[in-house]
Symmetry: C2
Subunit: 336 residues, 2 copies
DNA sequence: GTGAAAGCGCTAACAA
DNA sequence: TTGTTAGCGCTTTCAC
């Protein structure tokens, strides 16, 4: 492998017959160096396509300009989109991201944090794994924070950990949509979810129930387990409850499936039954009619997380917990 | 921020009243150090939770144990799954990944490569952006290779660049499925794609056409542009060609949409029309019937890419171009 | 305005 | 078996 190795300050200095420190200062545009020398050095540096060696700068400065990102599941469109938002904003701010995928496992999450806390990153942006939340085990978060690595959590969050958070208005979003259903006389509303282990699912359900309670209406929830076939379970549910005329889906896929199940049962959508779901744009376009969605602005969530983290990184002061709430929007497509 | 900073070799050495190099050697289990000292030092190191500083090791060794990954689009399920495979295998092999998302833009791709070629990574795994392929601009790849950063490309590849490749049997996969359609007397087969700028789409179409030609049958392709509404365009197409009794979709979403369009037009699926698509498992489960898919084994692709790269990294010898072909499988669900 | 030198944390050749 | 030292590439203080 014919290595045309990257040029170093030292080599530049030799070529230019000046000292290393002069080159360094010139390239950092220091006022200590004369205009002429600076120009000359910068020109040659560009010629040789010089870029400072990252590990060396990191070692020297103690800053890596890199963010560790731990995502529970890259195939979840919402999480993937948050990751995209993180990457983009991080790049804009001059940061790289090292990505780990916990695959919803506490073990992998711990291991990833452990691995990246060797000076590879300046801080973390993460959503805890399901496993972590289930087992209520958060010491690895607190440990790492104590070691000086700030954490920003998004989507799924955790009390008892001193870190900033970026979340959405889960409760309010379902509260509002439920009220809207009721206003349109769609009062037999079901709430369906296959992510019931997550607190966000509970919050969404609470918003829905709370709105119903205000109007003295009954709630009806369907919780689908991981191992179940969503289509089959949902079909049985709808056959058992033919009175349902509106559905709120808490997760990315159930809304679309609900439309197709309803159609297969002979319903007209949205005439006979209205369906709304937390879902991404692209999934919402797969069904006929398209799914009306509660959009979570995933990219913004990522962007906010990055800014929160960089902020923490800059001021060394141990500031208090900051929480940003990114509001959802209802995007009307065909199903409501 | 109460920094309980990570302990260094130097501090460990002071605590233990030995020299830095003794500690270093002991922790690297060098035979130069006596069993007793090693045990003692290792114990204390564990106590203090010592881990070597990454930037320092990288600077010293010239190896980062980090792979730069450039993905055109994280919301594409196939690409996301490849990324997952990469991350997993990389971790298994003791590597981290720095992820950049080119967002199908040549500019961003160049910039990402540029940024990571400052000693942040040992090599790259990437799929070129659409933009790059369209403009046929590959110097940035060749430049970086000359600088000593090996590249492994996957999915979309490029001649004129000396790098390893991991691809699928695009041509054969559609050739085979087309033959199967014909064997079952489904001879009016359409090929639909919304990723027509990519060579993989062309290869898939060629496989399909070639099989048809062998039987003297006509081909019928629908190419959908980015800006078009897939549902609308597809519906018009199917109304215009009511004779169609089989469809092959080249991309992730069109297969599912085709099922729903067919149903909405009164077809029975798969009785009246069979539909097969390159798609991911999760998307295939959204429709009724579920979509029969040509599975690309994305995770394996990622895994192979990592192994290819690490291999290149280990032997310094400039070996020839290696190409791994990961075979697709037909996963039968309801639509064929 | 420029250069010498120390040091970030680590490894490894060489000395003792 | 253990310690001393140089050096990876860079920034920065201090001396000239």
């Amino acid at each position: 492998m014919m290595k045309k190795k990257k040029i170093t300050l030292k080599e530049l200095a030799k070529n230019l017959n000046v000292s290393i420190s002069t080159v360094s200062k010139a390239l950092n545009d220091s006022h200590e160096i004369s205009k002429a020398t600076k120009r000359k050095i910068q020109k040659v540096a560009k010629q040789y396509n010089y870029t400072p060696n990252k590990p060396a700068s990191s070692l020297k400065s103690g800053k890596t300009k890199t963010i560790g990102v731990i995502i529970p599941n890259i195939l979840d469109r919402f999480l993937a989109k948050v990751l995209y938002g993180i990457e983009r904003e991080a790049n804009n701010m001059g940061y790289n991201i090292i990505t780990c995928i916990s695959n919803e496992s506490l073990e992998k999450e711990k291991q990833s944090i452990q691995l990246l806390s060797d000076g590879s990153v300046d801080g973390f942006i993460l959503a805890p794994s399901e496993d972590t939340l289930l087992k209520n085990e958060y010491e690895h978060f607190n440990d790492i924070i104590k070691q000086g690595y700030p954490i920003v959590m998004f989507d799924r969050t955790v009390t008892d950990v001193l870190c900033d958070e970026v979340i959405i208005n889960n409760f309010v979003s379902t509260f509002d949509i439920t009220k809207e259903f009721i206003a349109q006389k769609k009062c037999k509303i079901a709430f369906i979810s296959s992510i019931t282990e997550l607190k966000i699912s509970k919050l969404r359900e609470d918003g829905y129930k709370s709105a119903l309670a205000k109007h003295g209406l009954d709630s009806l929830s369907l919780k689908i387990k991981k191992e179940e076939d969503k289509q089959v379970t949902l079909k049985l549910f709808m056959e058992k409850h033919p009175e349902i005329n509106a559905i709120i889906s808490a997760d990315d896929t159930l809304g679309t499936i609900a439309i197709n199940v309803a159609l297969s049962l002979g319903y007209k959508v949205p005439k006979d039954i209205s369906i709304v779901g937390f879902a991404s744009e692209s999934v919402s376009n797969l069904s006929i009619p398209k799914l009306t969605i509660i959009k979570q602005h995933a990219k913004d969530i990522g962007k906010n997380a990055v800014n929160l983290l960089i902020n923490k990184l800059q001021k060394e002061t141990s500031s208090k917990k900051e929480v940003i709430i990114v509001k959802t929007s209802l995007i009307r497509k065909g199903s409501f």
